[in-house]
Symmetry: C2
Subunit: 345 residues, 2 copies
DNA sequence: GTTAGCACTCGTCAGGGTTGAGTGCTAAGC
DNA sequence: GCTTAGCACTCAACCCTGACGAGTGCTAAC
């Protein structure tokens, strides 16, 4: 980010008032209505200041005889220096909490609930990624006979993520043998991740050949699991975009929905976020995606158990109430983290 | 359905032409343009016939000096008596098939892929439900220690659906005992559904009390699984609605998207479908949902393995190309059935 | 430095006339 | 008796116009 143009006290106050007004009404705001709120100065004075703020690029004017609205840069200045975050109102808490009151069985359920809750709370499109479990370790495994030459692998991963996969058998094998192999493998692989498993010493014993073969398939499957987890992104709340005047243009709406429905694009977007600083706000073109030039993203991480983390956030109009949305995203993130942590024990 | 008003050959031909034209252009069609396609009669003759078709309710006129468009009833007549289903073109097959070429691991993955594939193939919103597995039987179960007073139940159900749930233990129990109990339970419950399990004879033995308690929890969980499965509905392709002129009105779009995003409403819709007859087409208000009065549904079932079935279909504008959509839904349904069947072995 | 006053700009909206697609009706033709 | 050419009529869509008003920039006075 470039060094922002410094603003004196009054210009800051005016910029803040413009953001507040425009966020509320969606209509470019003029000097007269500002003069009502900021009774200290006349509309003429404010007009002069507005002109300066336009010159330095914090405000834009759709046409000469229109009021001003904040530019991406103006919002950036607002978010960085002027915004007073608002507490999450009790009404919203009461709306969110019930979602997490019923304890769902699987992680995926929690994430889906989180998406719905956040969409409601922030009145925007919510985005939720699965908690990253890269290189996660095995807690337990089991083999169930499917047919003569197929067995179902059931993996319980650290964090109680359960994954299943059909494995091929090199020779007809009955359930007794499979159970024996499962017991043997359990003793060997518990606590290992894919990398650790590939460094295991040679297997010996009665069913060594079969066991070796299965182990290879298991390692391959775990690698696939690792890769898949990154791309799971849930979303909800597309309906929330529709009642906003800026999306009255169907063209624009279409572009945004296309991005939201295309998981690849969302993944790119979310991985571009720099989430080391608690909350990341990407305003308008800052996301680097032309389709989202009129949209902003507010993202944060949730932590579940020992530092396993996923991303959660919202995508909405640039004209969103940043002062409200940030805290709400954090609030839901905290709830999700707790729920996921609990589900993973 | 009421008895439709019978139509003579020429009226049928004209109605069919109106549907074809209107589906293609989205603009009410006039007698002159029909006279080009149906060169046998002059525009005046066609005009007389159009008047009759309007009188009996098969066509409607947005205003006096406009052309005609099919009413819900008109589409119903078309679909029931006039429509010639079109083969799924090779281009569409080539578009759908790759989705099912990579064999995904879980049922949920297949369903998601199916939703995406169908959304592409039918250029509408796709809807997919999980295969019903009501009263499904247990194939295998396992218990993994989580903490002193908690164990993770891993259930492999018939059809290789894997479900997990944390269970409470009445006393601290270690993995060895849990494994022993799991082995014992496996012997007892394999092949039983929830109902069968509740009729099991009293358990006796070393860990009888604990085992009884766990069994109760397992039965409760299976009942929950049964209920949940019905409500899982995936959708994709909301973007496809946006480029259709009838959804240029954001109001309308909003209502439709609200229904699509609300799983309860979708569930009600799908359960209302009468799917004994291969494919079910609900036109406009036939769905009984006011929000969807300008939409149609084309639904069918897919079969996976031994008669386990889910629902798959599309939701689109009433002005959809029924002759193309039906076969495409069936085509994807068949692919999904095959894929699910294979995944369930 | 601030502000009242004023001329100016430009989007929005309502009114009015024109256009053209499409109709219903009638009377003539086969 | 069915078909069709002709014609008057209807009405949405479009464009043009002028009034309106929100909002500006500039200037001069305080």
């Amino acid at each position: 980010m470039q060094h922002p143009v410094p603003l004196d006290q009054r210009k800051q106050q005016i910029l803040k008032a413009v953001v507040a007004d425009y966020t509320r009404t969606g209509v470019p705001v003029g000097s007269a209505s500002l003069a009502v709120h900021l009774a200290t100065w006349s509309s003429a004075t404010i007009r002069n200041e507005l002109a300066t703020l336009s010159e330095v690029g914090y405000l834009i004017q759709p046409h000469t005889s229109a009021g001003r609205m904040p530019s991406d840069l103006g919002y950036r200045y607002y978010v960085d220096f002027l915004m007073d975050e608002e507490d999450v109102p009790p009404a919203v808490r009461r709306q969110v909490d019930p979602f997490f009151a019923v304890l769902p069985t699987g992680i995926e359920d929690i994430l889906e609930i989180a998406a719905t809750a956040l969409a409601h709370a922030a009145d925007a499109v919510s985005l939720v990624t699965a908690p990253r479990a890269l290189g996660v370790r095995v807690k337990h495994l089991d083999l169930v006979k499917l047919s003569d030459l197929q067995a179902l692998l059931v993996l319980v991963l650290e964090g109680n993520l359960v994954r299943q996969q059909a494995l091929n058998l090199t020779a007809p094998t009955d359930q007794g043998v499979l159970s024996a192999i499962a017991t043997g493998l359990n003793a060997a692989v518990v606590g290992l991740n894919a990398a650790g498993m590939s460094r295991l010493p040679e297997v010996v014993g009665l069913h060594a050949a079969l066991e070796r073969d299965l182990l290879t398939q298991i390692i391959a499957f775990m690698t696939v699991c690792d890769a898949q987890q990154d791309t799971l992104i849930l979303h909800d709340g597309v309906r929330n975009l529709l009642h906003q005047p800026e999306f009255g243009d169907v063209e624009l709406l279409q572009q945004v929905i296309e991005v939201v429905e295309e998981e690849r694009m969302l993944a790119a977007l979310i991985s571009a976020a720099d989430l080391d600083h608690g909350i990341q706000i990407m305003i308008g073109r800052e996301s680097g995606m032309a389709e989202l030039s009129r949209c902003s993203l507010v993202l944060t991480t949730y932590r579940a158990g020992a530092e396993r983390r996923g991303t959660i956030g919202v995508l909405g109009s640039t004209r969103m109430a940043y002062a409200q949305v940030g805290p709400r995203v954090r609030y839901v993130a905290q709830r999700v983290g707790r729920a996921v942590g609990r589900a993973l024990s």
